[in-house]
């Protein structure tokens, strides 16, 4: 009799997921799948709305990476009104830098939340630790000082987002062709120097370094586990600038292989010419892949690990992150890094990179200038737009069409979690084989190993907000006829 394990919901990741592991009679893994619900609803809902509502409405998909959705939509609208990258127009410096500032702040915020609240407890207490401990509450007990710093970091990130978008969540900054405000000197100085109850940018950078050191320690002590856990192949993709370095706001899509050779490089407006999407009846989430290479070889990884794999280096004005990146690159001797848990290393590097990039931006007088919008010339309307940014979790794409009257007629979103669908499934399968295969007894630690493999991608499974903490985990063991033979609830 073959058994089927179901983990549902996958805890401490955004939204709901469900894992099924199919065992044979000898408890060997024969298959492992991650099932995901996606949000087609939003794409439908926006139809018929005035085009400019899209970035305002669609950012509501997510309570964490809303700035990315907002910006992605804004870039699509720039195209649509005829002043976007598709028309060869270059964004004015002030709006571009304001958008970047909001974007980097959200990257910092999102990574800090994922890293310190979800991943650090796992690193400190171990995967086998009881779930009551392996969370942010456990962290409060073990290291209250660290938690204080994390709270201060998040507060700073929120204040920066608020300074740009007007609200800590779901604010508005971008309008077609630009932004609706610049950064006041007072707001800038507050963020640079801090004030009572708010840390300074230098402290942000210092805390970010502490975060990275936590990974180094953990890696030192658990090298074997960290390096072998879900070491799964995939191509790596991210947006790069003309020098081949990651650009979180704009660039070409570059895809590299294990040897960091460029497999394809494309203008993201041509995304659909290069990618296909496979569907499976067991998941609502699609499986994008490069047409030329087919699904097996042409699936990409996006997000922190992919970006540090793709980027050649970082700019000189972010020296700490640049040095950290070199150490990362040296570890795999110039090859792309496929070790899933190293995503957390990459994430910690990116926290530092965001912080340093923000510091550079805050010192840029362009942020106080007041040319905020390019007004489209008569007849520039194109009615179609594509926006792509590097969201915290990876490459995010919004594609809209509107009719002559300005009604949205079509919207398609390809989110990072979808891009990662195949590689996430590979990770689940790999961990299932290593941790479950051949064992008759299913332990808490094993179940958690599966989750850890998924959580490394920090997936927004329904892009809905779920608080960090304890969610009931239900494991159902089904036989080959789909009948429940065992259930595991914690």
């Amino acid at each position: 009799m073959s058994k089927k394990l179901v983990i549902d919901p996958v805890t401490r990741i955004e939204g709901h997921g469900k894992v099924t592991i199919q065992l044979d009679d000898n408890n060997q893994v024969v298959d492992a799948k991650l099932h995901v619900v996606e949000f087609r609803g939003f794409e439908k809902f926006i139809q018929g709305h005035p085009y400019w509502e899209a970035p305002m409405l669609l950012q509501r998909i997510c309570g964490i990476c809303f700035v990315s959705h907002h910006l992605c939509g804004a870039k699509a609208l720039d195209d649509m009104v005829g002043v976007g990258y598709s028309t060869g127009t270059k964004m004015l410096p002030t709006p571009e830098k304001m958008r970047r500032l909001g974007h980097y702040a959200q990257q910092l915020q999102s990574h800090v939340t994922a890293y310190f609240y979800l991943i650090v407890p796992e690193m400190l207490f171990g995967m086998d630790a009881p779930p009551e401990q392996r969370n942010v509450l456990g962290l409060v007990e073990a290291d209250p000082d660290l938690v204080k710093r994390v709270v201060a970091l998040r507060k700073w990130g929120q204040e920066t987002i608020k300074a740009v978008l007007g609200k800590r969540m779901h604010g508005i900054s971008s309008v077609p062709g630009g932004v609706n405000q610049n950064l006041s000197i007072e707001a800038r100085d507050r963020l640079l120097n801090g004030e009572d109850g708010l840390i300074s940018i230098d402290e942000v950078i210092e805390f970010a370094q502490d975060g990275l050191n936590l990974f180094y320690d953990f890696h030192e002590k658990n090298r074997e586990q960290v390096d072998t856990f879900a070491d799964v192949p995939a191509l790596n993709m991210c947006l790069v600038d003309d020098d081949g370095n990651v650009d979180y706001y704009h660039g070409k899509m570059r895809i590299v292989d294990k040897n960091k050779e460029i497999v394809t490089e494309l203008n993201y407006h041509d995304y659909l010419d290069h990618f296909s999407e496979a569907t499976e009846e067991w998941s609502y989430m699609k499986f994008p892949f490069l047409k030329d290479l087919g699904r097996e070889k042409g699936s990409v990884r996006v997000g922190p690990l992919a970006r540090v794999n793709v980027t050649k280096t970082y700019a000189d004005d972010t020296p700490l992150a640049k040095a950290a990146l070199e150490r990362f690159h040296d570890y795999t001797k110039g090859k792309a890094n496929d070790m899933t848990l190293h995503t957390n290393w990459a994430r910690a590097i990116e926290i530092l990179h965001s912080a340093e990039q923000i510091k550079v931006l805050l010192s840029d007088p362009d942020l106080q200038k007041d040319q905020l919008v390019i007004t489209p010339p008569e007849g520039a309307w194109t009615g179609e737009g594509v926006g792509v940014v590097e969201a915290p979790r990876g490459t995010l794409l919004h594609h809209y069409r509107a009719n002559e009257e300005g009604n949205i007629t079509f919207a398609n979103l390809v989110v990072a979690t979808t891009q990662n669908n195949t590689v996430m499934n590979r990770s689940v399968r790999s961990v299932a084989e290593d941790y479950l295969g051949g064992n008759a007894e299913i332990t808490e630690g094993m179940m958690n190993a599966i989750e850890v493999s998924i959580r490394a991608y920090d997936p927004c499974l329904s892009c809905a907000t779920h608080a960090a903490g304890q969610m009931p985990l239900i494991v159902s063991v089904l036989d080959s006829k789909g009948e429940l033979v065992n259930e595991f609830v914690r």
Binding site: H49, P50, E53, L57, G166, E405, G406, N407
Partner: protein
């Protein structure tokens, strides 16, 4: 001629013939309203300004004060009635403030805050209403129309005086219509005027949007209550 009335038990003097909204505002008492525009003929369509006059519920914008009149504004029963009227407006249309261009400048939204509305006690009707974007400069977002008739009465073709907006159909079939040809003749200033006049985000100037940053939008800078009270200081 000066007369005496009482508002919530307090005697005040008023000019004979002024309507209750204005008299109350002059005496520091805010009465919410969504169709009344100071200095324009009363429309009396929204009923949000309902108060008790000598014990009977009436729309304050429609009633001129008279000697000895007893007006109750902040009386619990009628206060809740006003709130119910605002809730009805939300449940009748399709409102989605977070992405609405009017958000922060919207009188309905601002009034919702003033009457402490949290959620509508009435079921949402999800009335299907088709948008009309046929004019060059106006997005007509019918989902949000509250049929106040401000646009119908107050926005007219600058040359001929003809109406640009009209309401067709009755009851649940009522819909706001726009004369696309006349609308296309509107000057940018008139388009702005129309979109500012519309208390909700139904008449939207499609040439420029979301330009006021959050925190600096009309009713965030000064509440609708303060504006209503100030407007009447002569």
């Amino acid at each position: 001629m000066s007369i005496k009335v009482t508002i919530d038990g307090k005697e005040v003097s008023a000019r004979d013939g002024d309507n209750i909204i204005d008299v109350a505002a002059e005496n520091g008492v805010y009465i919410p309203s969504l169709c009344y525009v100071k200095g324009k003929p009363c429309l009396g369509t929204c009923r949000t300004c309902s108060v008790k006059v000598n014990g009977n519920v009436m729309a304050a914008c429609t009633i001129p004060v008279a000697e000895g009149m007893e007006i109750e504004v902040n009386e619990p029963e009628v206060t809740d009635m006003r709130k119910a009227l605002v809730e009805l407006l939300f449940s009748e249309g399709n409102h989605n403030c977070p992405s609405c261009e009017k958000s922060g400048r919207c009188e309905l939204q601002a009034t919702g805050y003033e009457v402490d509305m949290m959620v509508s006690r009435f079921p949402y009707r999800f009335t299907p209403r088709v948008v009309d974007h046929s004019s060059k400069t106006i997005f007509l977002q019918r989902d949000r129309c509250i049929f106040c008739q401000r646009c119908v009465d107050m926005i007219r073709d600058e040359k001929t005086g003809e109406k640009i907006f009209s309401i067709k159909g009755r009851g649940t079939h009522a819909r706001i219509e726009i004369d696309t040809d006349l609308a296309n003749e509107m000057s940018p200033q008139q388009v702005r005027e129309a979109s500012d006049l519309c208390p909700v985000g139904c008449i939207i100037d499609s040439t420029q949007g979301y330009d006021d940053p959050i925190g600096k939008r009309k009713f965030e800078v000064k509440t609708i209550r303060d504006r209503a009270l100030e407007r009447t200081h002569r």
